[in-house]
């Protein structure tokens, strides 16, 4: 691993306010968190609590109203190849083939003659061999998301940001994609930050689960998941974590999904 890959991501007292005609929205209020290199962070929270905003700030697509985000010694202010992002919609360019879409993610500093090899490597990584020449509309939702992941990885980022990447997929494909992401995380050893509304997904993948609360968006609780991988979704420990997180959302009195054994 390179030295750059060992850098810590520091989110320090970050607030983000959006100015609208109808007033302003405080999307994030004083959020702080450190992410270790190679760590897998899951973020859960109700819709509108600022999860996407936080990822966009880490990506450098927006700037903080106050506070700052640092990777190692450098302040993040604009997008860079060392961070990659995958969105809920695959956002593939419809006029480019799978191979061309993946190649679109290669930074221009890369020599042209390496492009084919890089694309090939990543087509294999996301298991899309044989679909290089297909167009996005010919792919299923899960396959489109694989292409999108490959495109985010070809720049060899140290941090991969995933904004509800499997939210639009059916339950079975989603579980398959979670295993895929786990495999990629284990082979590539990237730092990953995953936003999800699926609590099982958050526990299954994360070293830590960050629970956020809304209006204004802030961190409510951080839960360390001390379970070996691959995790068994039906184990008692898994159920306990799930209950803890549900309680964060719904409080003590209503326990919608508690399993007493």
């Amino acid at each position: 691993m390179t030295a750059a890959g060992k850098e810590m991501l520091r989110i320090r007292n970050v607030s983000k306010r959006f100015e609208l005609d109808s007033g302003s929205v405080l999307a994030l209020d004083n959020v702080s968190m450190d992410v270790k290199p190679g760590e897998f962070i899951s973020i859960v929270g109700s819709s509108g609590c600022g999860k996407s905003t936080l990822l966009r700030l880490v990506m450098g697509l927006e700037s903080c109203t106050s506070g700052n985000i640092e990777l190692g010694e450098t302040n993040i202010s604009k997008p860079s190849a060392e961070r990659g992002m995958v969105f809920q919609e695959s956002r593939l360019l419809p006029w480019k083939t799978v191979a061309e879409n993946i190649a679109f993610g290669i930074p221009k500093t890369n020599p042209k003659k390496e492009h084919n090899a890089i694309v090939k490597e990543h087509v294999e990584l996301v298991d899309l061999h044989g679909f290089e020449q297909a167009l996005p509309y010919q792919l299923s939702g899960g396959m489109q998301q694989r292409v999108s992941i490959a495109r985010a990885l070809v720049g060899r980022p140290n941090i991969l940001l995933l904004d509800e990447p499997f939210g639009a997929l059916d339950a079975l494909t989603r579980i398959q994609m979670q295993l895929e992401i786990l495999r990629i995380w284990e082979t590539e050893r990237k730092t990953m930050i995953l936003v999800t509304h699926d609590i099982d997904e958050a526990i299954f993948l994360g070293d830590r689960v960050i629970v956020m609360s809304a209006r204004p968006g802030s961190i409510r609780k951080v839960i360390h998941i001390n379970l070996p991988r691959p995790r068994d979704r039906s184990s008692t420990e898994f159920m306990n974590y799930r209950r803890d997180i549900f309680q964060e959302f719904f409080g003590e009195q209503q326990k919608p999904f508690v399993f007493e054994i």
């Binding site: 360019l93 006029w95 480019k96 679109f104 720049g155």
Partner: protein, 261 residues
Amino acid sequence: MPKKTIKIFDRFLLPVVLPGLLIFLWEYLAHKGVIRSTILPAPSVISATFYDMVVSGELWGHLKTSLWRVFQGFALGSSLGLIAGLLISASPRVERSLLLVTGILRPIPIIAWVPVLILWMGIDEASKVTVISIGTFWPVLLNVIHGIRSTDRKHIEVATMLGKNPSSILIHVILPSALPSIFTGLRVGIGIAWMSVIGAELIAASQGLGYLIAYARELSQADVMLVGVACIGFTGLLIDILLQCIEKRLLYWNVNLSGKG
């Protein structure tokens, strides 16, 4: 009937059934003397005239002249439309400064330009090519602007995230996404160009299909006039089919197009 036969019937035979019946009726009425031949000659008479004019090369001479004018005017008008569309989309200040000028110029019927341009440029080629280019310019301009405006912001964001510079974003994202709309502009444009050339030739020319019709009217040759009119119609149809073929090839990725069959 087997499915395939029905398909061939629907596709190729159905469109010619109605015109065939009408021509049959027309021929019948002409023979009975219900329709006067000085006003509307029988289809058989028109076909014979058509045959003579093709063999003598007269028709082709006029057609060639008109086509060449359309080609020049269309090339000029659509290039200018494309460039102006790009400039207007790129800069709100350019758009503002042109707002009033375009607002006044656009509603002027193309035919109204013919006498003006003859006064300015003389009676030969230049004035006709200019009329055609004005006719082509507007639909291309409007559709280029519309196409660029409707580029998906999410695609542009992906390109920004991947560190692409503005020219690369233009080439890889904005132009391909605007291409279907640009094509619509070109198709409308060539239709108007074809109409404009006939209009200009009707008013003042010594060659071309419009001139053929105007001259035949002076000699009261109804059959020659109708050959000219039919030739305009068929050529317009062929041009449109040609453009549709090019469009299908170029926009292979466009699901909306390939669905049409």
